[in-house]
């Protein structure tokens, strides 16, 4: 039978190897980008640090980039960023976790189909819109009636509230995934012992999902720290070391945007300072993201 004696060899066509190479190059683009970002930030920041002592930069408590005498202590910007982010977490963690528990444990198919799109809508709103909302509604119509003249037109609290709204869907959906991943056996076991549903959630399911929940909170914090447009209109342009959320300050991201959008000449020390601030910002978010990944990976093997 001639068909049977045909050889089984067929050299792999060149096109297969070529295709695989192209695909690999596309995937390697990710690494190239990361390396590129690090190189750019470090190189440009180095130019800045040639003129400004890095220790003074990292520990100084006065930031005055546009007004003489120029001082470049980054602490006020960091504190401003962290203040906004922490207020955001104070809003987003309870709201997000309650929504997550509801979606994972209590919601019917119908309510789920209402709540999830709502969360996705909030997540999809462009951040400039949230900034506009903070400027035109939250400060004048929500905060001013409460705090009166104690609160300025630009303040940290409004920024924190708005960013909190922004990151709530992130916490909600990631935590919901973490809760859903808890095996049915654990739930059924606790119910079979006579626990109420709330007790099952509080004592068994939630602790089991804790690592995923914590990872989601850290990711949300990282997101809040990196947020620009939602805060740039609201928080202000006067970085100062203050812990009063009713005052105006400035975040790292807003400073970078302000310098870029303005008339600052590109070779000036002010312009170069934005790269140093960006380096701090990048480092901070990178560390947080790595911690979050670590937590997820370390505790994922339990099941």
């Amino acid at each position: 039978m001639t068909a049977a004696s045909r050889p089984l060899t067929r050299r792999q066509p060149i096109s297969e190897r070529v295709i695989e190479t192209f695909l690999f190059l596309a995937a390697a683009l990710g690494v190239v980008t990361t390396v590129g970002i690090i190189i750019v930030l470090v190189a440009q920041a180095a130019e800045f640090f040639a003129q400004v002592n890095p220790i003074d930069f990292l520990t100084g408590t006065v930031w005055s980039a546009s007004i003489q005498p120029f001082r470049f202590g980054v602490i006020p910007l960091v504190v401003g960023t962290l203040a906004v982010s922490l207020i955001a977490l104070l809003v987003a963690v309870p709201l997000g976790l309650l929504a997550a528990v509801y979606l994972a444990e209590y919601a019917t198919m119908r309510t789920r189909n209402l709540v999830k799109p709502m969360l996705e809508t909030i997540a999809g709103i462009p951040t400039i819109v949230l900034g506009f909302f903070g400027l035109n509604f939250v400060t004048p119509h929500l905060l001013k009636p409460i705090f009166g003249s104690a609160i300025g037109t630009f303040n940290t609290l409004a920024g924190g509230l708005v960013v909190g709204l922004l990151i709530t869907p992130l916490i909600a959906s990631l935590s919901e995934d973490a809760l859903r991943a808890v095996p049915r056996g654990l739930r059924e076991g606790s119910l079979a012992m006579g626990a109420t549903k709330f007790e099952m959630v509080r004592r068994v399911v939630f602790p089991a999902a804790l690592s995923g929940v914590m990872a989601s909170i850290i990711l949300a914090l990282s997101r809040a720290i990196g947020e620009t447009m939602a805060v740039v209109l609201i928080v202000g342009t006067s970085p100062k070391l203050t812990f009063n959320p009713l005052e105006s300050t400035q975040t790292m991201t807003a400073f970078i945007a302000q310098i870029s959008a303005g008339d600052t000449p590109q070779g000036s020390i002010q312009f170069k300072s934005l790269f140093a601030v960006a380096l701090v910002l990048f480092g901070l978010t990178l560390v947080l993201n790595l911690i979050s990944n670590r937590i997820v990976r370390r505790y994922r093997n339990i099941y």
């Binding site: 039978m1 049977a4 089984l8 067929r10």
Partner: protein
């Protein structure tokens, strides 16, 4: 591929059957060769085959000879490695990176695991039908045409599709809806579609991995009848858990079981009638009479 593919469909020889019990003569069994395999043309031969996944030995010392244009059944309890052995024949185990094979497997005398052998070409010549029907989410026509198209078929693809569907006993049921999705068919129809799909690449051997285990009894019977027709053109190797099915539908049977070291080995092989009525090995007798497995 020069043969003409348009032909009149073969008539099905439908045999009435009672539920066959194992130790009686097979009803409806076509004239089965009862002599040793050596007298028949051999399609596939496994010689001293041992397989590992990493350091775990799955099967060892497998020597099986599959005669051409017959149905050979691999039976045995779960874990005996039957599916692993089946998948060595079309090199599907290669997809697992830790898989290793020792020994040789010959397809009409050619070594399937030689260094120069291309597994892709092997898989065109050795087709496979899976446990759960897995049609592509494409039209019925495109499902059957997929194999020929990727293998560079030059000819009238419409005729090839029709011939394959006819040989899979599916043509009459789908000829008016070739554009519909393959996934809109019933389970039994999907499996016959998968058979048509496998046939379309003109394989020499068709491997079937428990093809009826997710089908209802009526669909199962249809597939078994189909196998009786298919074997006039193709060599068929089938893994099955269903002893009655092996007894009904196969010409030769090989029985494997799992040893104490959790590695599978071949216990006995021979004409089906002998395996089921007069097995030479105690283990075989225990299995086919239902004492274990």
């Amino acid at each position: 591929m020069n043969a003409s593919f348009v032909e009149t469909p073969a008539k099905t020889t439908a045999q009435p059957e009672t539920a066959p019990r194992v130790h009686i003569a097979m009803a409806g069994q076509p004239a089965a060769p009862s002599g040793p395999v050596g007298e028949r043309e051999i399609a596939v031969e496994l010689k001293d085959v041992t397989c590992w996944y990493g350091s775990f030995r799955v099967v060892h010392d497998i020597n099986v000879r599959v005669a051409a244009r017959e149905v050979t059944a691999l039976i045995g309890p779960s874990g005996s490695g039957k599916t692993t052995v089946l998948r060595t024949i079309n090199r599907m185990n290669d997809l697992v990176s830790t898989f290793r094979l020792q020994g040789s497997i010959l397809l009409h005398g050619q070594d399937l695991y030689a260094a120069r052998t291309d597994p892709v070409e092997v898989r065109r010549r050795v087709g496979m039908v899976f446990q759960k029907p897995n049609p592509f989410p494409k039209s019925i026509f495109d499902n059957v045409a997929f194999g020929p198209r990727i293998n560079g078929f030059k000819g009238n693809i419409g005729e090839l599709v029709e011939a394959s569907l006819r040989r899979a006993a599916l043509w009459d049921e789908v000829k008016d809806k070739l554009k519909q999705s393959g996934m809109s068919l019933s389970g039994g129809q999907q499996q016959r579609l998968c058979i048509a799909r496998a046939i379309a690449t003109e394989p020499e051997v068709i491997l079937m991995d428990e093809p009826c285990s997710s089908l209802d009894p009526r669909a199962t019977l249809q597939i078994e009848e189909l196998m009786a027709e298919l074997k006039t053109r193709y060599t068929i190797v089938i893994v099955t858990h269903n002893m009655q099915q092996a007894a009904r539908a196969s010409d030769r049977t090989a029985f494997m079981t799992m040893g104490d070291d959790r590695a599978g080995f071949l216990v006995e092989q021979g004409p089906t009638i002998e395996i089921f009525t007069n097995p030479k090995n105690r283990l075989t007798e225990d299995y086919v009479s239902g004492r274990f497995g």
